[in-house]
Each structure stands twice: as C-alpha cells, then as structure tokens.
C-alpha cells in the first residue's frame, strides 16, 4: 500500500467515525425536533441532552480531523471540493455553529421561552447540517466537482438529484443511528415508555433509510453510472454487508436486543461509507483525480501519517474512557438524574 493510500484510509476512518458518532449527535437533534410539545417531549429531550452532552464535542472534532487530513494529504482535492461546494459547506458551517452553541445555551438558561428558542435552533440546525454535508458528499460522488480551484458550478454541484438524495439519506441515517443508540440509553433509565418510543423511532427511521438507499441506487444508475458500476461490482460485497446488517438491526431491535442493534446499525452505515470509497477507488474525484495524483509530497505524507498514528495511541484510550465512563451509573449520586430545568 502506498503512503498516499495510507493517508486516504486514515481520512476515511475519520469520515466513518464522523458518520457514526457525529451523525448520531445530529440525529439526536432530529428527535429533539419531533419530540412534541414541551411537556410531552420532556423525558425524551432530557435523555437526548444527557446522552450527547458529554460526548458531542469530541465527536465533532472528527469533522475538523477530516478537513485537516484532506488539505494536508490531498490539497488539490480540498481546494476543488471547498471552492466548488462553497455554498453547502458554508451553510453546514453555520449549522454547526447553531447546533453546538444553541445546545450549550439551552442547558444554561431556565426561562421556558428561552429553552424553547434555543431548542428549536439546536434541533433545526441538527437537520440542516447533515443535509448540506450529505448534499456536498453527493456532489463529489456524482462527479460534479472538477479538479482545480472554483472550476465547478456553485449551484448544480450540490443541487442535483444525487445530492438531494444523499442529503436526505444523511439526515435519516443520522436519525436512525441516534434512535438505535438512544434506545439502549433509555433502557438504562428504566423508563419503559421512553424505550418504546425510541424503539419505534429506530424501526421507522431504519425502514425509511433502507427505502431511500434503494431508491438512491436507481438514481445513481442514471446520474452517476461509474459509481453505480463500482457499487454493483467491486464494492458489491460491502453493499450486501450493509443490507444484511441493516435488516439484522431491524430484527434485533424488534426483539429488543438493543446493544446488538447498535453494532448492527453501525456496521450497516459504515459499510455504505466504505462501499462508496471502494467503488470510486483509485479516484477521489470520479474519473478525474486519483489518490496518487492528488497526494501531497512524500515527506508530508510520511510526517502526517506518523503524527496521526502516534496521536491515535493517545486518542484511542482517551475516547474509550470517555464513552465507557458515561455508560456506567454515577459513582456518587450527588447530581440527581431527574433534574429540574434549572439544573441543566
């Protein structure tokens, strides 16, 4: 494997992690949006706040990681993607600001109208951001981003059938992952109604995501034939894995095996992300820019790969501790789990 491929894999690990973890945080915002009126949705909103509160900032860093690895390892790719897709990326950036700050603000205020306003901003931007990031990814997948700085169409590069579909798929996949993860979190609270609600959400979102993905394959066939060809051939095993894991996730959700459902759902989504990469390989921009051609000089690839792998030695145990600590019950129960709004 060439060094450029190593860095491409590292970047794609980042994309996968952002989809699985960051995606679920956006999905949680989606369920916050549809949780209903203040009283009826209070239990769901509290669970969402507790679940994503400690982890969303760490999960969010994956986005920065992807951008940095892209501009360091594949500067031409970064320049081409960011210049042509400046509209969806700017909207996504503003969505990121709205989501993160509104979430932090909502926890800090007590007046009901303020909590509502920040909640609405948090939830709306949790839908806007994955849509535009998904649409941008769809533009790249559909081959609408030419190499070079600002060579593509600033509008049709992300407002086209494939992009709209991938945008919608991103929103629903985030919602699906969040619902699956939250079902397991809800079980720990011991609230059977909450479990039932998120289980229903997960089953529904999973079915819709599967449906959109199936329609997506048909759209890809017409709009992005090279990618469709890759998915139907080289990447076919991963497409099958995704389908099987997705179905399995629905079945075990139905059977209330929520922890297995988490893994199955993550495999289903992760397999799609890697199927896309495998179908396009060795191209980064469909048919026009290969990994080798876009790669930085050897010394940069080497220094960056070594730094990131060394960083992984620090990151993996730290991230594990973060996730494990909040999956356990509190050691001391000073902070009562049932908080008043003022406690948030």
């Amino acid at each position: 494997m060439t060094l450029a491929n190593v860095l491409a894999v590292i970047m794609w690990v980042g994309v996968t992690a952002y989809a699985l973890f960051g995606g679920a945080d956006f999905g949680a915002g989606f369920w916050d949006l549809v949780a209903g009126r203040a009283e009826a949705g209070a239990a769901r909103r509290t669970l969402i706040e507790h679940s994503i509160g400690p982890v969303w900032e760490a999960n969010h860093v994956w986005l920065i990681f992807i951008l940095v690895v892209m501009w360091t390892g594949f500067p031409g790719l970064f320049g081409a993607v960011a210049s042509t897709l400046w509209i969806p990326l700017t909207v996504a950036a503003l969505g990121v600001i709205g989501r993160g700050s509104a979430f932090a603000f909502r926890k800090s205020v007590t007046a009901r109208w303020q909590r509502r306003a920040f909640g609405a901003a948090f939830a709306a931007s949790s839908v806007i951001t994955p849509f535009f990031l998904g649409a941008a990814a769809g533009g790249v997948a559909a081959g609408r981003v030419p190499p070079g700085v600002g060579q593509g169409n600033a509008v049709t590069s992300w407002w086209n059938p494939v992009s709209v579909l991938t945008g919608a798929l991103a929103v629903i996949v985030c919602a699906y992952l969040a619902a699956v993860y939250l079902t397991a979190d809800a079980r720990r609270t011991g609230d059977a109604r909450l479990v039932g609600q998120f289980r229903a959400c997960a089953l529904g979102a999973g079915a819709v995501a599967g449906l959109i993905a199936a329609v997506g394959l048909a759209v890809l066939h017409a709009e992005a034939p090279t990618l469709a060809h890759g998915l139907a051939n080289r990447a076919l095993p991963l497409v099958v894995v995704s389908g099987v894991a997705g179905l399995a996730a629905l079945i075990v959700l139905f059977l209330r095996r929520f922890l297995i459902a988490r893994t199955a759902a993550a495999v289903a989504v992760g397999a799609v992300v890697w199927a896309w990469a495998l179908a396009e390989y060795p191209y980064l921009l469909a048919g026009r820019l290969t990994i080798a051609a876009a790669a930085a000089t050897h010394s940069v690839l080497l220094a960056t790969s070594i730094s990131l792998l060394a960083g992984a030695v620090l990151l993996i145990p730290s991230l594990t501790w973060l996730y494990v600590i909040f999956q356990r019950e509190p050691r001391r129960n000073v902070a009562a789990p049932e908080r008043t709004p003022a406690g948030g």
């Binding site: 700050s101 007590t110 010394s299």
Partner: protein, 454 residues
C-alpha cells in the same frame, strides 16, 4: 498562470478577507478562554482539595460552568475557520495546504484531547474521585496550550515561509518540520500563548472587579479577582519581553511590516520611535518622536538604518498604514498599562498585604479585561494587515488565494448575521449564569455541592 490571472480578475478578496477577519477575531476571544480558563479552574480545584475551603471549591465549579459554555461556542466557531480555509482561500490551500498541514494535523489531535477530557472533566465532576477528576483536567490545559502553539505555527509560516522547494513553478519538495519551525514560530507562538493566558486572567478578574464596585467585598469575590489578576499581572512582564522579541523578528524578516507599524516612510539612519499620529501622503503627521528610538529598539544601535516604506514597490506595501501603526501603538500602550496595574497591586501587597482599597484600582481592574482583549485583537490587526498584500509573505498575494466562485460576499453577510446574534446571546447567557444562582456571602459545602457544573 492564466488560471491565476482569471482568479484575480473574478475573485472578491475584500468580502473573503472581511469574512475571515470577522470569524477569526470572534473565535480568538473564545479560544483565549479555552486555553487559559482550564488553568484557573484547575488551580481553584486543587486549592479546594488541599484546603477543603468551600470558597475555592465553589470558584472552581462556577468557572468550570463558564468554561463549558465558552468551550462549546469556541469549538464550533473554530470549525467554521477550518471550512473557510477552503471555501474562501481555496487557492492558498490547494497550493500550500500540504506545507502548513503538519501543525494543523497535530493540532487536530490536541483538540481531540481537549474535547475528550473536557467532556470527562465537566460531566465527571460527581462521578470520579477528586484526585482522578483533577488529573483528568490537566490534559485539557496542556492540550489547549499545544493547540494554540500549532495553530500559530501555521500563521507564522505565512509570515516567514520556509521548508519547501519550487522547481519550474511546481512544488517538488517539502520539509514539514522546517515549515513548522520557521523564523516567526518562536516569537509568534510565545506572544500569543501569553496573550491568551492574559486575556483569561484580566478578563476573569474584571468580572469580579465590577462586582466589587457594586459592593460585593466578601472572600469569594476577593479571591475571584485576585487569583486571575495575579496570574495576568505576572505574565505581563514576560509578555513585554516576548513582544520585543516578536518586533525584532519583524524588523529582520518583514521590514515592510515594521515600516508600516512605525509609519516610517523613508529608509532612515538613526530612525526615531514614533508614537501616535496619522499617515497620509507618504508621511506620518502629528506623531510624538523619540530620537533614534526605533533604531535603538530594533537594532540596539542608535545609528542603525531602518528600512522605510519607500524601499518596497507601492503595489507591495500594506494599504492601511495608519491602521497598522495605531493598532501597534495602542497594543503596546495597553501592555504597559497592564504592567502598571500589576505594579500597583504588587506595591500594595508588599507594603500592606492587601490590594489597593481605592475605587480607581477596582475601576482599572474592571476595564483591564476588555483592554486585554482589545490589545490582543490589535496585535492580530498589526500582523495581518501589516503583511498585505501578501497572504504568504513575498510568495502569494491575497488576490491569488481567494476562491473565484461568484457570490461569496453573500456568505460574508450570513456570517455577519450569525455572529451578531451569537455575540448578543453569549453575553446574555454568561450574565444569566452569574446571576441565576447567586453567590452566598459565606459559601458552605452545601452551596458547593448543589451547584451544577453542566
């Protein structure tokens, strides 16, 4: 070259620069608190564990709560900068992204560590033993300082580009370490890290200074003011030394910027140090001049020759000389003002073991927070506007770095609107945090334990 020419013809560098400038100027205030505040929180928590004193413990919790809010807003306002690097400066990044990439990649790791341990620290306050909890906070502080170092490395490269080989217009070799540790790296990173800690110190102290002016003189408010104020005041001395180091680096490597900072129109032997004034028509008017001062400061020799703006072709000079000159002077002035404030405190402490009782002292403390932020922003204006028209000094002009896609000025207006809202709301929520749960005159253990950090 034809592509570059087209880029320059269609691009909108003014909108792009305004958007980047606004986003950076806004984010860096939050970033300063993200770097410095963990240090204050850890100090208070450590004192609280050692002494069991509820005042320290309550300070730690309340500062931690503010940290949680500021870090969240800082994390997301920093993200838009990464996106803007490509969305606005695609020309810069597609050519030079790999040369300045290494410090950004390492900064990414550092930022990960910050975010992970901040989650553990804030939400684990009542889940971990006090010692483990305190230890979990240390990586936040260390990684915050490391992040600041690596990000500023990238900016330093734009001032003193190094570590690359160009053959026939193509980038053929990169030495990432030489690029990272360029001539500007040392002074710029030290100057900025100290600035971040000072913004936190004086900024936090000023909140308590205001409360004291309103009559709260209890121990909680005294400590809340004195701990950060002492930290900020102690750092003022090394900061002035670092500033002098940075200015001397500019004198050697970026003489045009130095000439703009000083409003020096002609190359002069025994150049005076000019304070204040107005630059127009190729001359600095109404400035206070200290004979031979600039030659002395920049070269340690009163007869040394200092390069003026006239040595640089007009097209390669920064356009806003007055802005650069006055920004620089005001920054230096505020720095010495903060030094004076620190000396005032030190003198009283030495003679009376207390801070000055005068209301003027409290007024000065109350103003010092905003003043420190202003000085830090003016420093960035000095270095960024002073480098114009270059984005990479003597290598790439801003006009060739910008994204040529039409319409990016609309992005600027969207960012203005969002940041206007964000400014108002952040201040309102911070004020709410200080008032929602009032601080008792004599905090007890129960007040500490009932205060929610998250």
């Amino acid at each position: 070259m034809t592509i570059l020419a087209t880029v320059a013809a269609t691009a909108d560098p003014v909108a792009a620069r305004s958007q980047m400038g606004l986003s950076l100027a806004w984010h860096i205030i939050l970033a300063c608190f993200g770097v410095g505040l963990p240090g204050l929180v850890l100090f208070a928590e450590w004192r609280g564990i050692r002494t069991g004193d509820p005042v320290y413990r309550l300070l730690a919790r309340r500062w931690a709560r503010a940290l949680g809010l500021l870090f969240a807003v800082g994390a997301v306002s920093g993200t838009i900068l990464s996106i803007e690097m490509g969305v606005l400066w695609s020309g810069l990044m597609s050519r030079w992204g790999q040369v300045i990439g290494l410090p950004f990649a390492i900064e990414g790791i550092a930022f990960f560590i910050e975010a992970i341990f901040l989650g553990i620290y804030l939400y684990g306050w009542d889940r971990l033993s006090p010692r483990v909890h305190l230890a979990a906070g240390v990586p936040i502080f260390a990684a915050g300082i490391a992040s600041a170092f690596f990000v500023v490395c990238a900016n330093a490269w734009m001032n003193a580009p190094a570590g690359y080989t160009i053959v026939h217009g193509r980038l053929v070799g990169v030495d990432p370490l030489a690029a990272m540790f360029n001539a500007a790296t040392g002074p710029e990173t030290v100057h900025m890290i100290l600035a971040a800690l000072m913004v936190t110190g004086f900024g936090t102290a000023s909140v308590y200074g205001v409360a004291m002016l309103r009559g709260r003189r209890d121990r909680y408010h005294r400590l809340g003011m004195l701990i950060p104020l002492t930290g900020g005041a102690l750092l003022t001395v090394p900061q002035i030394v670092a500033g002098d180091w940075a200015a001397r680096m500019v004198a050697t490597d970026q003489p045009t910027k130095l000439a703009a900072m000083e409003g020096l129109s002609r190359t002069t032997r025994g150049a005076p140090e000019s304070i204040g004034g107005w630059y127009s028509g190729g001359q600095l008017h109404w400035a206070l001049r200290i004979p031979d001062g600039l030659s002395m400061l920049a070269r340690l020799n009163p007869h040394a020759s200092i390069q003026g703006l006239d040595a640089t072709p007009a097209a390669d000079r920064p356009p806003l000389v007055t802005l650069v000159h006055l920004s620089f002077d005001t920054m230096v002035g505020i720095g010495f003002g903060l030094l004076a404030l620190g000396l005032w405190l030190a003198l009283w402490w030495w003679r009376r073991q207390d801070f000055p009782g005068s209301r003027w002292f409290l007024r000065a403390v109350a103003v010092s927070g905003v003043a420190t932020v202003v000085a830090m922003e003016l420093g960035w204006i000095t270095t960024e506007v002073g480098r114009q028209p270059w984005i990479v000094y003597r290598v790439m002009k801003v006009a060739n770095a910008v994204n040529p896609e039409p319409g990016i000025q609309y992005g600027f207006w969207a960012v203005v609107a969002i940041y206007a809202i964000l400014t108002v709301v952040t201040i309102a929520v911070l004020r709410h945090l200080t008032r929602a749960v009032p601080v008792p005159t004599e905090p007890q253990d129960a007040d500490v334990e009932s205060y929610q950090v998250t």
